[in-house]
């Protein structure tokens, strides 16, 4: 008896397997190599171009942050990777184009244009929020108690259904739309900053602040956090868990809608398969920041945006490798630091 106790107390830490060590060191080598290469490129092209491409990436990054928030909210509360979220964003771009160009018929920079942008923002956020809420109601709610594989496969299926909707609405080829945002920009120290970027910031930052207000300060937000921690306990405390989860989905959907409007206005194209790519990039952002962590999602979105911008702008590997770069970041991250930058390490290995 005593022997076992001393064994437990005094036993040396179990040795890390060689293979794991090899993996860790290979991972570090890769990271160092990439860093060296980036510095080399930075010296080669000069800081102005570096910052230019970083700023370009930042503009996308803020949009990724909005989408990533939707992922992180849903994952935080029911531990589901909502594969359909990116496609919801895609529908957001299409609805935005529809509201602005077809219904309100705005195509130039004007006061009416600004007003209709606000109208479009509200409308698309409402539409996307209700779509996401409906999906939750119809599909995920019934799978609350099912094994994990089931909701995951359902989410993949939903993503395809939404893509089909996008295909019907938008057609199989990408469409180009006019923008109501002012073009051009100003420059600071040789770095061109577009007005559209400023507009995106003006829309996203208040939204993010509102989000954090809802989650941190309101009763609903408290219910959300409680549900995320422990559903049963939350239910015992009188929280309507189903309604809280629905609310989370609606919130995430609305953010995806807002991102959709801003993307459609800044980039100007809509395509039915946009959501898959951007959704995955945004999910990478959410993982990078620490999934389930709201600040982390925003940070991750910005970082991924900058990485992508630098990769395409310098160029490191160029646009045609963009997807691979982001996914490599994702894979390395999940393997070596699954809890992300701001997430808390959990005892369970993800």
């Amino acid at each position: 008896m005593a022997a076992t106790i001393t064994l437990r107390e005094g036993a040396p830490k179990p040795k890390t397997p060689v293979w794991t060590l090899v993996q860790i060191w290979v991972g570090r080598l890769v990271l160092v190599g990439v860093a060296v290469w980036m510095v080399y490129k930075l010296v080669q092209v000069g800081p102005a171009q570096f910052f230019q491409s970083a700023v370009d990436g930042l503009s996308n990054g803020t949009l990724y942050a909005l989408i990533a928030l939707g992922y992180t909210l849903v994952y935080g509360i029911i531990e589901l990777i909502n594969f359909a979220h990116g496609d919801l964003f895609m529908l957001g771009t299409i609805f935005s184009a529809w509201v602005l160009s077809d219904v309100l018929n705005q195509s130039t920079v004007s006061v009416a244009g600004w007003l209709s942008l606000v109208v479009a923002l509200v409308a698309v956020m409402a539409i996307c929020g209700s779509i996401n809420g409906t999906i939750e109601l119809l599909a995920y709610r019934r799978l609350r108690r099912a094994p994990k594989l089931a909701p995951l496969i359902t989410a993949v299926g939903m993503s395809f259904i939404l893509q089909q909707v996008g295909l019907i609405l938008n057609g199989s080829t990408p469409k180009q739309w006019p923008s109501v945002l002012p073009q051009g920009g100003f420059s600071i120290g040789g770095v061109q900053i577009a007005w559209t970027f400023i507009t995106v910031l003006c829309v996203t930052i208040p939204l993010l602040l509102l989000m954090s207000f809802i989650v941190q300060r309101t009763r609903r937000g408290k219910a959300m956090r409680a549900t995320a921690q422990d559903q049963d306990a939350a239910r015992l405390m009188g929280i309507n868990v189903n309604r809280t989860i629905s609310f989370t989905f609606i919130l995430g959907g609305a953010l995806a809608g807002a991102a959709g409007v801003m993307y459609q206005q800044t980039v100007g194209t809509t395509a039915y398969n946009l959501g898959q790519q951007l959704g995955l990039i945004a999910f990478t952002a959410a993982v990078l920041g620490g999934i389930g962590n709201l600040t982390g999602a925003v940070l991750g979105g910005v970082i991924i945006g900058v990485i992508q911008g630098v990769n395409e702008g310098l160029p490191l590997l160029g646009q045609r490798w963009s997807q691979s770069v982001v996914f490599t970041v994702l894979i390395l991250l999940i393997i070596f630091k699954p809890e992300g930058i701001l997430g808390k390490p959990t005892t369970e290995k993800v």
């Binding site: 909701p151 496969i153 299926g157 395809f160 995955l280 994702l330 894979i331 393997i335």
Partner: protein, 404 residues
């Protein structure tokens, strides 16, 4: 982990083997007869049948579509090992298909310049490129695919299921992008990029040369490959490894407590699944006589997943039916149905454009209403059904709903 049940899930009593032929012999004979009937139908009966019958078969199930269905079947069976047996969600399975395809592209065509090397190949002497015998190409592809499977599996298999899904997805996307951009990797042309590699060598087995139009004989080759994969799946399923997979699928923690080496077993599932993917890749490349990177995108992985889910995860026969149905719908069925529908109701609906929604709908509806698939495996049915509370408590279980 929706509900953690502390009662043991009771497996149904295994069916006693009937006297006489073993299960393996039975299915092998049935399979061979079915394959021969199809072969005979297309090879000897159809050319002599009247025009109506001929056009019916040509419209609804031409031989080339059947061949393609067989390729899908091979890959779906491979994915079934990973998803159905071991319960690991793999969303990047198309990578193995692509790897198999490109192995065929490199070792089975005149793509590789400046070498003229033939190893029991079917090329004429003096032709450039590497020409390895078809069967050997299959082996090489299987080896490379297994290697790739183990390589992607080794660092990622300790992840939780949803993260694993994501990493495999990323791996699939990276692989297809690497192949798509392969015409300029540090200035080297590795695979012609988006143009793809074409044409490939004719298949040559035991002295027979099959051209691209010998579809019925190609069908025999494909059926043989399907049979190999079915045989391997069935044998593994009943063996030690298969039981370990099922144990992991049903409860990882319990399995590891029972002494199942988790990593090695999961890696084996990945390896075996990848081998089937590689075989499917070679078969597909030989079938369409080309390797085109656009054929290897994410939707292929999802279609394969839909096949496995539709047919019944873990049940070889179910997956085969699922693969046959969906591959047929994808290749020919939906189009033909649309043509018939449009001409009889005078509408103009573009049915093939709806296959995205159709596949999504299949996944969602199956998950909501019939999670065990069309032809369920008894164990999967028990596993995927949500036990009701009364039943659990009757077993004396503590119903403990942890984070759904």
């Amino acid at each position: 982990m929706a509900t953690e049940v502390t009662t043991a899930r009771q497996a149904p009593p295994t069916r006693r083997r009937a006297r006489g032929l073993s299960y393996n012999a039975k299915w092998a004979i049935g399979f061979a007869i079915a394959a021969f009937v199809v072969f005979a139908l297309y090879q000897w009966f159809l050319p002599n049948a009247n025009a109506n019958v001929q056009s019916f078969f040509n419209d609804w199930a031409p031989m080339s579509v059947l061949d393609e269905c067989m390729v899908w079947m091979i890959c779906a069976l491979g994915l079934n090992v990973v998803v159905g047996y071991a319960g690991l969600l793999d969303l990047g399975y198309v990578a193995f298909w692509a790897i198999g395809g490109y192995i065929a592209g490199w070792f089975f065509s005149d793509f590789v310049f400046g070498v003229s090397w033939s190893f029991f190949g079917s090329a004429r002497p003096g032709e450039p490129g590497i020409h390895v015998n078809f069967l050997l190409v299959l082996l090489i592809a299987a080896g490379f695919a297994a290697l790739a499977g183990v390589m992607i599996g080794a660092p990622t298999l300790r992840l939780k299921s949803d993260y694993l899904a994501l990493v495999t997805l990323g791996f699939g996307e990276i692989t297809s992008q690497v192949f798509r951009n392969g015409d300029d990797i540090f200035g080297h042309n590795l695979d012609n990029g988006t143009r793809g590699i074409t044409p490939l060598d004719p298949i040559k087995i035991f002295g027979f040369r099959l051209g691209p139009f010998d579809l019925t004989y190609q069908f025999l080759v494909m059926v043989f490959l399907v049979a190999v994969v079915v045989f391997v799946s069935l044998r593994l399923r009943h063996g030690r490894l298969g039981r370990a997979w099922l144990a992991i699928r049903e409860d990882e923690l319990a399995a590891s407590m029972m002494g199942v080496p988790l990593m090695r077993t999961k890696l084996a599932a990945y390896g075996v699944g990848a081998v089937a993917g590689g075989l499917g890749g070679v078969a597909f490349a030989a079938h369409i006589n080309a390797v085109i990177p656009d054929r290897f995108d994410f939707s292929i992985s999802i279609t394969l997943l839909a096949m496995v889910v539709l047919g019944g995860m873990g049940n070889v026969w179910g997956v085969m039916v699922g693969a046959l149905v969906l591959a047929w719908i994808n290749a020919n069925g939906l189009k033909q149905f649309g043509t018939t529908f449009n001409s009889s109701f005078h509408t103009n609906i573009n049915f093939p454009s709806y296959n995205f929604g159709l596949f999504g709908l299949i996944l969602v509806l199956m998950m909501l209403f019939r999670r065990e698939g069309l032809i369920p495996e008894a164990r999967t049915k028990l596993l995927l059904r949500e036990p009701d509370r009364a039943m659990l408590e009757a077993h004396g279980a503590e119903v403990d709903e942890v984070e759904p």
